[in-house]
């Protein structure tokens, strides 16, 4: 991976309380969240977060409620101030930004989409979408043109002069996304953007996001508590628990090698056939006879492979990408991959 690191979080700590700064050393020396609360009355929000978010990728930060994921994303545009650590955007420490520079950064370089949409109820859809342009002082015509362009792209043509509460939840969130796209920022922060939507709309919105991403190549940081959503979207997956990163990496790798019981429990609930891709289970080629093997793409998931052969267990497959043969597997490998992997330390429970 030679992609440039767009946003880099280094050694980030957040301790909520009157005097968080003085408690950082305690936490660095191994004090736990519960002890910090009992003995010092401070709440440990985030500890020692180190994540590199690469340009043009979707980084998904996943965790249950209270794991600190919403706190973390709010550090990236400094809606929350960190207690210690660095946040680099294109190599520049955003913690050094003050006053108007900070507002300018939020307006032009990072845009945010919210779980509860957070549209301005007293403004029309088009006015909502053009918010960042308006703040930046663009002309009315320019605002309108840009808003119309993105609203049309998101399937909201004709709703420009409606008000947000005339729209359904899914449509409101499209306005939220249009508002983010109108800002022309390279980084988009999505805070549980689809969590308030019903499952079918949510799935459509995920497809829409992936489709937009193919065109626009934004650096997207996506927060979710839903592993299926995380696996569908993520190029890079970060799993948070109690304010620290327990595992991060390529999603396929995490599913096949969960590093601890917490992740394992997540992983057992998912549809493995839909999530795992052929490249993740293939075996290296060693000059076998591939005469009857069916060609499949490296990015196909196992479900589609099973469907392709109608569940015929006698078939074998060769994995191809850009005309090159990368590896092979047969139906036995697929069945073996369906078995949930255990973390190294066996959980006796």
């Amino acid at each position: 991976m030679s992609k440039k690191v767009k946003v880099s979080v280094q050694g980030l700590y957040k301790i909520f309380g009157d005097d968080g700064a003085s408690k950082v050393d305690l936490v660095k020396n191994g004090m736990t969240k519960a002890d910090l609360l009992d003995q010092h009355g401070h709440v440990l929000g985030l500890q020692d977060i180190n994540v590199d978010m690469k340009e043009g990728e979707i980084t998904v930060i996943m965790g249950l409620s209270g794991s600190g994921k919403s706190t973390l994303i709010r550090h990236l545009n400094r809606l929350i101030e960190p207690t210690a650590g660095k946040i680099l955007l294109d190599g520049e420490d955003i913690l050094s930004l003050q006053g108007d520079d900070l507002l300018e950064m939020r307006r032009t370089r990072m845009s945010m989409v919210f779980q509860k949409f957070a549209l301005f109820p007293h403004r029309t859809v088009a006015e909502n979408a053009a918010l960042a342009l308006e703040v930046g002082g663009a002309s009315k015509q320019e605002q309108r043109a840009e808003a119309e362009k993105w609203l049309a792209r998101l399937g909201l043509k004709g709703f420009e002069d409606s008000y947000p509460n005339q729209l359904s939840g899914g449509m409101q969130q499209r306005v939220g996304i249009a508002r983010a796209l109108c800002a022309h920022s390279e980084v988009m922060l999505l805070d549980e953007a689809f969590s308030a939507l019903d499952p079918i709309i949510r799935s459509q919105m995920q497809d829409l996001l992936l489709e937009l991403q193919k065109e626009l190549h934004k650096t997207i940081i996506f927060i979710t508590h839903d592993l299926d959503e995380a696996l569908k979207l993520a190029d890079h997956l970060v799993i948070l628990k109690d304010g620290y990163v327990i595992q991060q990496g390529e999603p396929q790798h995490i599913i096949l090698n969960p590093s601890d019981v917490y992740i394992e429990r997540f992983v057992t609930d998912i549809n493995r056939a839909r999530v795992l891709r052929t490249r993740s289970i293939m075996k290296p080629l060693a000059g076998q006879d591939l005469g009857v093997a069916l060609p499949v793409s490296a990015d196909d998931n196992l479900e589609s492979v099973i469907e392709m052969v109608n569940g015929d267990t006698s078939k074998s497959f060769v994995v191809e990408s850009d005309g090159q043969q990368l590896g092979y597997f047969d139906m036995h490998d697929i069945v073996a991959a369906m078995v949930p992997q255990r973390a190294e330390e066996e959980w006796v429970g």
Binding site: L103, R106, T108, M112, F114, L119, F120, A132, Y163
Partner: protein, 338 residues
């Protein structure tokens, strides 16, 4: 009588107590003190202690002290407050002149049309017109217009002062903690009580005397509800405004005030109603209008005069309430009818 003489004797303060007392009284006090029994024991209040020892001040001395203190700072207060509140007198005089010297055939249609313009409702317009004609018909029109003029001036000033104050309170918890008790006091203090210092401060013939009384009483709801309205704006929306780089000024004018406007308008409605309540009481301190007729009814026991004037006040209250509520509904409608 004085159960506590013995106490001062025991404490050896008798000499100090009696320094400037006549000897005859001393012997009487001692005699009575000896007869006191436990059943008649009084609480050692200032007055009771004073009986035992004349050096202890009476409660009246204490209240007189407040009066003296107020009188002492009165010249200083006057020099500061007089020029500061003079525009209020001018505004009230001007409004009274405007409302009473404009001929009825011009003012009545004008007010009706204004109400229709602000409420966008012909029904409200018809209500205003019929009430105005009622006032004209029963010869209460001039008094009603005087009352209306005072309410208009006082409400405008309440809004101009109260809304910024409410916004400041919503931004600072410390300011809120400081101002809330003052607002509580203004709202609960009997209205006659804060007329007293105002009478001390200003000439009774000056309009600003009753103007200030009305404003102090009526400003409370608009301050409270502005504060509340801004604090109740959806925090998610505020966060979105911050995430898109709105500065404080744009956030206030573009998001917070528009979203708090229905609550602020409810406060304005309350302020109008409370000005009306106070303008009647303020007739005690020379405020013109319908209140003077009520006062006349009380002073001269003219039941009919007082009753009809009271009825006219009710009509005026209905009118002001309906018009301000209709205007409020229109604000609500432009916000969230959709």
């Amino acid at each position: 009588m004085s159960s506590y003489s013995g106490l001062f004797d025991i404490l050896g303060m008798r000499d100090w107590c009696d320094e400037d007392k006549k000897p005859s009284l001393l012997s009487l006090g001692k005699l009575k003190g000896g007869e006191a029994n436990w059943y008649d024991l009084n609480f050692p209040s200032l007055d009771n202690l004073h009986e035992a020892c004349s050096k202890v001040p009476q409660t009246r001395d204490f209240t007189a002290g407040i009066e003296d203190g107020f009188l002492a700072i009165r010249p200083a207060l006057r020099t500061v407050l007089d020029p500061l509140t003079q525009p209020l007198s001018w505004a009230l005089d001007g409004a009274l002149w405007l409302f009473t010297s404009t001929p009825w055939w011009a003012l009545v249609p004008l007010l009706t049309l204004l109400c229709v313009f602000f409420t966008k409702s012909w029904k409200i317009g018809a209500l205003v017109l019929s009430f105005m004609l009622t006032f004209l018909f029963i010869d209460h029109y001039d008094h009603a217009m005087q009352t209306l003029a005072i309410i208009v001036v006082c409400t405008v000033i309440c809004v101009l002062v109260g809304v910024p104050l409410g916004i400041a309170m919503s931004k600072s918890d410390r300011l809120q903690r400081m101002i809330t008790p003052v607002l509580d006091m203004l709202q609960t203090l009997p209205t006659f009580v804060y007329l007293i210092p105002l009478i001390f401060l200003f000439k009774i013939t000056e309009p600003k005397l009753y103007g200030l009384a009305i404003i102090l009483y009526a400003i409370v709801p608009v301050v409270r509800l502005t504060n509340l309205g801004i604090r109740l704006v959806d925090p998610d929306v505020i966060e979105a405004a911050e995430a898109y780089g709105l500065n404080k000024r744009k956030k206030l004018w573009g998001v917070e005030i528009p979203l708090a406007l229905p609550t602020i308008m409810a406060g304005v409605n309350q302020t109008i109603m409370m000005s009306l309540a106070m303008v009647v009481i303020a007739s005690l301190v020379s405020a013109p209008g319908l209140g003077t007729l009520v006062l006349d009814g009380i002073n001269n026991l003219r039941l009919g005069v007082g009753f009809v004037a009271g009825f006219a006040i009710v009509l005026l209250a209905i009118l002001l309430d309906r018009v301000s509520k209709a205007a409020l509904d229109r604000v609500n409608a432009t916000q969230s009818n959709h």
